[in-house]
């Protein structure tokens, strides 16, 4: 178990990368730190590794306070974004290096390296140097180096970001299965929301050094706690439209929608609905946003249609074959069961609550 309490990291120069952060990560959990660049996710990971010393707060691993423990004695293994393989060592020596540091006898560590390499289908390249490997192979060697010494915690810093798109999907599936089999607590950093949703048991969305929301991929996707999380999660950004409460009706971008309970007359709200949960109607409806079709983007099996309603843009995903013509009038109908209402900067309630 990893527990962080009141963790703060201020870099010399005054940049506050991590701000009063509390987080508990359970044993065996596959945990993602997700956020845009500069949100502090990598600093947080490096602080868990011990490569950064927190300005204040504590880091606990497996019940022990390791805040001041050097990285090598925390029993963690890290896979770096650029893999950080030792260019002058062959694959065997790279994988066996952590064991060598721990003074494991040569035959034992070489046997262990060979076994780990076999597991990651690297057996054919044990005598190669990192410079002679492809990106995907290097990534697997970096993983093997982390696995071979059986640490308590794996820390992955954007482990898939240097792979090309197709390989990344394969590596993702592979990584998830590997983590299941090894059942080692894993924290990984990513800026790719799709990767976080696909891999993690739980996700922490970060911004400006703070946690915006911690939850399972389903929770984060379906009930993002703030407009920031809502716009960050999802392959297409969520429609976030300003509106007003009048009586028990929400007036949003030309549509009149039933207001959820708990709102008072005159409140300003933000109405959120994903393009995937927005349908198009060719005829006028009261519960729809009117506008004209401005842009069409082909997504393969569907089209992303952008409707221009005055100054606001509303996006809807339309299945293939149902595309409207450019420039025609259209009404974007939110699926109200999937819509979210934000008051201030917090989630008021999904509708229905």
């Amino acid at each position: 178990m990893i527990s962080l309490h009141g963790l703060t990291k201020v870099y010399p120069g005054g940049v506050c990368a991590v701000d009063e952060l509390d987080l508990e990560i359970a044993d065996g959990e596959f945990f993602a730190l997700l956020g845009p660049s500069g949100c502090g996710k990598t600093t947080l990971l490096r602080t868990i590794a011990g490569l950064e010393t927190p300005t204040s707060g504590t880091v606990g691993i497996g019940g022990a306070d390791v805040t001041t423990t050097p990285p090598g004695r925390r029993d963690v293994a890290m896979v770096f974004q650029d893999y950080a393989l030792f260019p002058h060592m062959d694959v065997t020596d790279n994988i066996a290096y952590p064991l060598r540091v721990k003074k494991t006898p040569k035959t034992e560590r070489h046997a262990k390296a060979a076994a780990t390499a076999a597991r990651l289908s690297l057996s054919d390249m044990l005598t190669r140097r990192p410079g002679q490997l492809s990106g995907g192979q290097q990534q697997r060697v970096a993983l093997a180096r982390a696995i071979a010494c059986h640490p308590k915690v794996f820390l992955f810093d954007e482990p898939l970001s240097n792979l090309d798109a197709r390989l990344r999907l394969e590596a993702r599936t592979f990584l998830k299965r590997l983590q299941r089999e090894l059942a080692v607590t894993t924290v990984f950093v990513t800026h790719d929301q799709g990767e976080a949703l696909a891999l993690a048991d739980r996700i922490a969305v970060m911004s400006g050094g703070r946690l915006m929301q911690v939850g399972t991929p389903t929770e984060i996707f379906q009930r993002p706690a703030t407009p920031f999380v809502a716009s960050f999660i999802g392959a297409t950004p969520m429609n976030l439209l300003p509106g007003d409460v009048r009586g028990d009706v929400l007036h949003v971008a030309g549509a009149a929608l039933p207001a959820p309970p708990g709102l008072t007359d005159g409140d300003h709200i933000t109405y959120g609905v994903r393009p995937e949960y927005t349908d198009l109607s060719a005829s006028p409806r009261d519960d729809a946003f009117p506008g004209t079709v401005a842009v069409m983007e082909n997504l393969g099996t569907a089209n992303l249609v952008t409707i221009e309603a005055g100054d606001t843009l509303i996006q809807a995903v339309v299945p293939e074959g149902d595309e409207p013509a450019l420039g025609t009038a259209a009404w974007a109908v939110p699926r109200q069961a999937r819509a979210l209402v934000y008051t201030g900067d917090r989630l008021h309630a999904p509708i229905p609550a």
Binding site: G72, F80, Q81, L85, R128
Partner: protein, 310 residues
């Protein structure tokens, strides 16, 4: 031009291409032949001739160059040449090994990030920037009988005369002067090592010592080898420092270059050329052995990489 068109080219076209390449390179080769090959060959030729006026067997004065066979090389077995060879080798081994240690230390210090790093880097390089003749005079002053060196160690040593102390003086001054050069090349090597590699070693639990021996040193090795090779060739032909610091024709610090210079100034061009040829062969042999022994796996690495790529 597309790759397919390139591949379809016949052998005749390729031969044409290499002829063109030879044509383009020929001006360089001509210049090199004029300024490198010709002087070298003429020095070797000179080493087999003797010149100046002399009397022949009948007592007549003969002038001009005459073929002398290996006569000029007879001095190679003489005490003076052997002594110069020993001095040169001693200076090379001593200065280069001390410089490697000091240079690596300097590079490690210069590589760290701290306030005033730019100032420190500049000041470490000053000895390398000072002309040898000037630093030689400066050290001569330091090593005077009533100089700084004697004051510090509280002894009365005549450094700049003859004997072991003169050798030590030369080694100290040369090390002071050229360790920064090694430091600079090693620093360049250190700077291309990715920071993540050190962090990976830290997470693996490697101590500072282990990191230095197993990570830093192997990765900086190519740069270090280049520095050592340059320094070795430099040290093997050293002339100016012993000359200025101790003086010419001093037995205990006379190097091969100094010996050649001395012979040449006394119009003994034949022996000077013979010794020059020997020095050239000596340096070439050491450079060859060095590259063979230490540079071997470096080249092997490049070769395997090429094999994989093709």
């Amino acid at each position: 031009m597309s790759g397919a068109a390139n591949r379809r080219r016949g052998p005749r076209e390729r031969a044409g291409q290499s002829r063109l390449a030879a044509l383009m390179l020929s001006p360089t080769l001509v210049v090199l032949a004029l300024v490198v090959l010709y002087p070298l060959l003429s020095a070797v030729r000179e080493s087999f001739y003797t010149s100046g006026e002399t009397l022949d067997a009948d007592g007549f004065v003969v002038e001009g160059e005459r073929f002398a066979g290996l006569a000029n090389y007879s001095g190679v077995l003489g005490e003076r040449f052997v002594n110069a060879l020993a001095n040169t080798t001693l200076f090379t081994v001593a200065t280069v090994s001390i410089e490697v240690v000091l240079g690596v230390l300097m590079a490690l210090v210069m590589h760290r990030a701290f306030r005033g790093r730019g100032f420190l880097r500049a000041s470490i390089l000053i000895p390398w920037a000072v002309p040898t003749a000037v630093s030689g005079l400066m050290w001569r002053w330091i090593f005077q009988a009533d100089g700084v060196a004697n004051t510090i160690i509280g002894q009365q040593i005549l450094w700049t005369t003859e004997g072991v102390q003169a050798k030590i003086a030369v080694i100290v001054a040369d090390t002071w002067k050229t360790a920064p050069f090694v430091g600079l090349l090693v620093l360049a090597g250190l700077q291309i090592i990715a920071g993540e590699v050190y962090e990976a070693a830290r997470v693996d639990g490697a101590s500072a010592w282990q990191t230095f021996w197993r990570i830093t040193l192997p990765l900086v090795r190519p740069a270090l080898l280049v520095a050592v090779l340059f320094r070795m060739m430099d040290a093997l032909r050293v002339f100016d420092l012993p000359y200025v610091l101790i003086g010419p024709r001093k037995h205990s610090v006379e190097t091969l270059s100094a010996l050649i210079w001395d012979e040449a100034t006394r119009v003994h061009y034949g022996p000077a050329s013979a010794y020059g040829t020997m020095l050239f062969l000596y340096i070439a042999l050491i450079a060859f052995v060095f590259v063979k022994l230490l540079g071997a796996d470096l080249l092997a690495d490049v070769r395997t990489r090429r094999r994989v790529a093709s």
